[in-house]
């Protein structure tokens, strides 16, 4: 069983600052970059900031800032034998075709392969707790108005079949029990299990750039496309997520 709480933001070397995709539809590239950075922090104990612009410029589908997919970002990492650093190949938030400069720079992080996890929140939590943050793609409809707290939508308010925004799953937990005073003496609310997700809209949005989504109800389609890169051998020693 996975632990009851897990928060990779507390792990040493993990980059906690939140990127801002600005007017570029590159959430898919930022989520993939965040996944690679987190795995390097956990497995290699190295804090690397990789180039999102490389993923945007060198995407095989050439969608650039008009959209893309996390799995294509991972393909780009494989095709170019890794990612340059953010410092050398900085994010511009714009795209011009045929401007890929990946071969001009030394690579600071690379991956062995990438996988898609099962659409099961218990297994996703288990994988997350052992291996590190993963990317998920959700329906972003409710996020435009979101400020803080745990979103617990219904399929009517957030259709899980329509997903359009990739983010990084950083951990999970549950809210504390709440006590509501009533005439009869009070009722105790049940704790709400949640996922902790890192968005790419800057630190001024949501909970300092992060948000929480209900865990256990496929909220906003969170189980539809859970993807992660893998760095080393599959026999790598298990690591443990900070509670």
């Amino acid at each position: 069983l996975p632990p009851s709480t897990c928060d990779w933001r507390k792990q040493e070397y993990i980059i906690k600052s939140v990127r801002d995709q600005k007017n570029c539809n590159c959430c898919w590239a930022i989520a993939a970059a965040g996944n690679v950075e987190a795995l390097w922090a956990i497995e290699q104990r190295t804090s690397v900031e990789v180039s999102v612009q490389q993923l945007v410029d060198c995407d095989r589908c050439g969608g650039g800032c008009t959209g893309g997919f996390v799995w294509d970002a991972f393909m780009t990492v494989l095709n170019y034998s890794g990612l340059a650093s953010e410092k050398k190949y900085p994010f511009k938030g714009t795209f011009k075709p045929h401007q890929c400069r990946a071969n001009n720079f030394k690579k600071v992080a690379w991956i062995r392969d990438f996988i898609m996890l099962q659409d099961n929140e218990q297994l996703i939590a288990q994988y997350l707790a052992i291996h590190g943050p993963i990317t998920v793609t959700i329906n972003s409809k409710l996020l435009q108005q979101y400020r803080k707290g745990v979103i617990k939508p219904t399929p009517d308010t957030c259709d899980p079949r329509f997903v359009n925004h990739s983010v990084l799953l950083m951990g999970f937990g549950q809210t504390k029990r709440t006590w509501t005073e009533t005439r009869q003496g009070g009722t105790q609310g049940r704790p709400i299990p949640y996922w902790i997700l890192k968005n790419s809209w800057g630190p001024n949005w949501g909970e300092e750039g992060y948000f929480r989504l209900h865990r256990g109800s496929n909220a906003c389609g969170i189980t539809k496309y859970p993807f992660t890169a893998r760095l080393g051998k599959s026999t790598v020693r298990p690591v443990h997520c900070p509670p």
Binding site: F69, Q118, L123, Q145, K152, T154, T157
Partner: protein, 105 residues
């Protein structure tokens, strides 16, 4: 005006104040008065929508003014989402992978 009559939310004067605070906080300016009026209208609709989401949410989430409160749902989707993943986009099935340690194919 028609919106004010039908949607819950702040009164016109309150709305003006809330919108001004939004503009200052998120450094928003608009090309002309017509655009400003349009954005105020969108802002008001979004506040009303946030209230509806608040009412329907089963968790502890708070919805309200955000950096995207002056955008329509369509604009927001175009600017900050990515393309929709159609059901047929992936020529693969779920059997492709969980990891060899978990019995992946």
């Amino acid at each position: 005006t028609s919106l004010m009559a039908q949607a819950p939310g702040p009164l016109p004067q309150e709305l003006k104040e809330v919108f001004t605070r939004f503009q200052v906080r998120y450094n928003r300016s608009y090309a002309n008065p017509a655009e400003l009026a349009r954005r105020v209208d969108i802002f008001a609709r979004n506040l009303a929508r946030a209230q509806q989401l608040q009412d329907k949410d089963l968790g502890t989430a708070e919805f309200g003014v955000t950096p995207f409160s002056d955008l329509t749902e369509e604009e927001f989707g175009q600017m900050y989402g990515h393309q929709q993943v159609p059901a047929t986009a992936l020529h693969m099935s779920r059997q492709v992978g969980f990891g060899p340690e978990a019995g992946e194919k």
